[in-house]
């Protein structure tokens, strides 16, 4: 009898606590559904329509028409290629550079470590517009500091129009992206390396492991979850490169810096082709999801 009362009370307690937990979750759930799930569904739905502002026959169902068109659209394909170039270059560089910097600074004394953290994190917390304006000045064709130094040192004979030349524009964008992307990974790696189990390191040292073996066999497996997180966020951020393009090149010259995100914006908000823009959004989301899944899979196997 007494046991039955306890069971009932226990169930009641669990029910209440579960209800409370859901109530606590509710605000963020409502936001998540309202601002992520519903727009996502609308995006997929609209991508099957010719939804263009100002067209007489608005929202005509065209099935996969937008998807077929975008894979025949030379500018989209160029934007896709540029986006992949940005991802392929920036993700490994960000990860390797931030791991290297973190390995060098993580066991320095607290004050010095704080200074380095601050230096590398500063571009992350500085407004992207401010950062971009400074870079725009540095790249300036007429009196930018890169041309000034290049000519001063004799490396350049004439000024280079860094952002106005197809050969350099995308590389210039990637360089800015790198400087604004390494801050967070460095902070994360410093923290992860600081949390590596020291007893394992000491045991390996006693067994005669060299520095490379220490890192590869002991530290690397322990910081793998952090690496995976950094890989995923850097990949997503690189895929979503937009503000730099919008502020610096508008996708030019001759579409050499167009990215999928910028082209989505251009199609949706300049040409008012919402259906087409949404179709590109869906394709971009699929690419990001597939790449993230591969990264998870590879990291899990390691």
């Amino acid at each position: 009898m007494a046991k039955g009362v306890y069971t009932t009370r226990s169930k009641e307690l669990v029910r209440r606590e579960t209800a409370s937990a859901y109530m606590f979750l509710l605000p963020s759930l409502v936001f998540f559904i309202g601002f992520v799930i519903i727009p996502m569904i609308i995006c997929i739905y609209t991508s099957f329509f010719d939804s263009t502002m100002g067209k007489d026959a608005k929202d005509v169902f065209i099935g996969f028409g937008n998807y077929i068109e975008l894979f025949q659209d030379g500018i989209f394909l160029k934007a896709l290629k540029n986006t992949f170039v940005i991802v392929i270059v920036s993700v490994p560089v960000v990860c390797i550079f931030s791991l290297w910097v973190s390995s060098v600074i993580y066991n320095l004394n607290d004050k010095v470590l704080s200074v380095f953290r601050c230096i590398f994190y500063l571009p992350v917390v500085t407004g992207s517009v401010a950062v971009t304006v400074v870079w725009k000045w540095m790249y300036n064709n007429y009196y930018g500091i890169f041309n000034y130094i290049g000519k001063g040192t004799g490396i350049l004979k004439t000024n280079i129009n860094w952002l106005g030349d197809e050969r350099f524009a995308l590389a210039c964008i990637i360089l800015i992206l790198l400087t604004t992307s390494v801050g967070q990974p460095i902070v994360l790696y410093v923290s992860a390396l600081g949390n590596v189990d020291n007893s394992l390191v000491e045991a390996a040292q006693v067994d005669g492991a060299n520095e490379l073996q220490l890192f590869w066999k002991i530290k690397w497996p322990q910081i793998m979850p952090t690496t995976l997180y950094i890989l995923v966020i850097t990949t997503i951020n690189s895929f979503q490169c937009f503000a730099l393009i919008q502020l610096l090149t508008s996708g030019g010259p001759n579409h050499s810096t167009d990215t999928v995100m910028y082209y989505i914006y251009y199609m949706a908000f300049k040409m008012f082709r919402y259906g087409y823009g949404n179709a590109m959004g869906v394709v971009l989301a699929i690419f990001i999801a597939v790449l993230s899944a591969i990264q998870f899979r590879v990291a899990k196997e390691r």
């Binding site: 409370s20 109530m23 606590f24 509710l26 605000p27 409502v30 936001f31 309202g34 519903i38 502002m53 100002g54 067209k55 790249y139 300036n140 064709n141 007429y142 009196y143 129009n161 860094w162 952002l163 106005g164 197809e166 610096l248 090149t249 508008s250 030019g252 010259p253 001759n254 579409h255 908000f269 300049k270 040409m271 008012f272 919402y274």
Partner: protein
């Protein structure tokens, strides 16, 4: 405490859910208002003047982008119409279109917007989003608005989607000191502020030969200030951007091809896909460039960085008409005015018209409204706007020498948004070595495809 917390969370969630559903409710309200709008129209006038709140979104047209100036104008309006409250949103040309388009999609479009026919008539008006202002044009005050201005405010189907307030003719400018140093002033007619195409090319060559590698820039990173590059190309050999009826784009004419090729071949004129019109002005003012293609009266009288009419280094700036082979320059015009978004509320529409009528037609206000823009009135009966001001002489010069050369207002041609984008993309390709004939053909095909839609 726990109950209190839960109650709070429940209320928060309920509030958010209600907010999510608000859009539909608003739609229904709007739809209901739509159906009643016509019937209410007649009696709305008085009601509007009784009490109404209208929103004004303004692009930075001179000091119409400056809150102190606009607040002053609204204060004067409220002295006459105390029951109409006007709230203002200031837009910029970088993001303004996006803000308005997003607002339109969210059914939150402003009541009044200050801009030109390319947006009010050819874009939002053509999409059926604007109120026909025909009744305002039937008033006495509108009777002497210049005919070309009236024509620009009118849609091909006869609706007026803009009530014009001020206008200007865009021109170019040179750094007198640099031209003097290069002995190139002899190629300019400083009395009429004109030059022929041959003399223009000779002058550029002379300035280039004097050591100034960057004489002028064909800026093309985006559409900002593109009226300058269009005017240069069209005037050099008397080409046109569209046909007279504004039904198709004519950039692939022999005259335009010849002009573009002349620019490509001319040393000192450099295609620059990293800057827009605003950047070019900065480079001109700081002495990097010897000429600007993105000039007008407002730039000439701007004293933000130093004395008006001077570069940052103190060199004299001479405004010039664009060079032409036949002596007839057609300047690209800017006509700014007010449009009203059809938000389905007859009271607000009437209140918006009252505001527009006040700033454009009220005898005590109209000069101040024009002066705030830094441009010129759209009616000959409004005179002496800048009398007694520091800029009076410069404005008189522009009024006499430049405004009469205002050309065809072709920016209302269908497909204009696409054509503008195609233009700077075309310049980028030509600047990168693309064949002029091929690139103008691509431009014309794409722009005309948009015009035909």
């Amino acid at each position: 405490m726990k109950k209190l917390l839960l109650t709070g969370l429940t209320l928060t969630a309920a509030g958010m859910l209600a907010a999510c559903g608000g859009g539909k409710a608003a739609d229904q309200t709007s739809a209901a208002a739509d159906s009643k709008a016509d019937t209410k129209q007649e009696g709305a006038s008085e009601a509007a003047k009784d009490a109404a709140e209208v929103s004004l979104w303004t692009y930075p047209v001179g000091k119409w982008g400056d809150s102190a100036t606009v607040d002053g104008i609204i204060k004067k309006f409220n002295e006459k119409y105390p029951n109409i409250k006007v709230t203002v949103e200031y837009l910029d040309y970088q993001n303004g279109d996006d803000q308005i388009n997003t607002a339109i999609e969210g059914k939150q479009a402003p009541d009044i917007v200050l801009e030109g026919p390319e947006r009010l008539v050819a874009n939002w008006g053509a999409k059926g989003l604007m109120v026909d202002l025909k009744d305002m044009f039937e008033k006495d005050a509108a009777s002497d608005i210049y005919d070309p201005v009236k024509a620009a405010c009118k849609s091909p189907t006869g609706e007026f989607y803009e009530y014009p307030a001020f206008m200007v003719a865009h021109c170019m400018a040179i750094n007198k000191t640099m031209f003097e140093k290069a002995d190139a002033l002899k190629y300019l007619d400083l009395d009429t502020h004109t030059w022929t195409t041959d003399n223009f090319l000779k002058a550029v060559q002379a300035v280039y030969d004097s050591g100034q590698q960057n004489v002028g820039a064909i800026y093309c990173v985006s559409q900002g200030g593109d009226q300058g590059t269009r005017a240069l190309v069209n005037n050099l050999y008397s080409g046109t951007f569209t046909d007279k009826d504004h039904t198709k784009y004519t950039v692939d004419s022999e005259e335009n091809k010849k002009a573009l090729q002349a620019i490509v071949d001319q040393a000192g004129l450099n295609f620059d896909p990293s800057i827009a019109g605003g950047d070019e002005i900065t480079l001109f003012r700081n002495g990097t460039l010897a000429m600007s293609l993105c000039w007008n009266a407002s730039q000439q009288t701007n004293s933000d960085n130093g004395p008006a009419g001077k570069t940052n280094a103190g060199d004299e700036i001479i405004p010039m008409l664009f060079p032409s082979d036949d002596g007839v320059t057609e300047l690209c015009g800017g006509i700014w005015g007010y449009g009203i978004f059809d938000n389905g509320d007859a009271g607000k529409i009437e209140a918006a018209k009252t505001f527009i009528d006040f700033v454009c037609n009220d005898e005590t206000q109209v000069k101040e409204s024009v002066k705030a823009s830094g441009f010129f009135p759209v009616r000959p009966s409004v005179t002496g706007v800048y009398e007694g001001t520091e800029t009076a002489d410069a404005m008189k010069l522009f009024e006499e020498k430049f405004m009469p050369s205002m050309g065809d207002y072709y920016q209302v041609t269908k497909g204009w948004t696409t054509a503008r984008t195609e233009w700077w993309n075309m310049l980028q390709r030509i600047g990168a070595g693309g064949d002029v004939a091929t690139e103008v053909a691509t431009f014309t095909t794409n722009a005309n495809a948009a015009a035909a839609q």
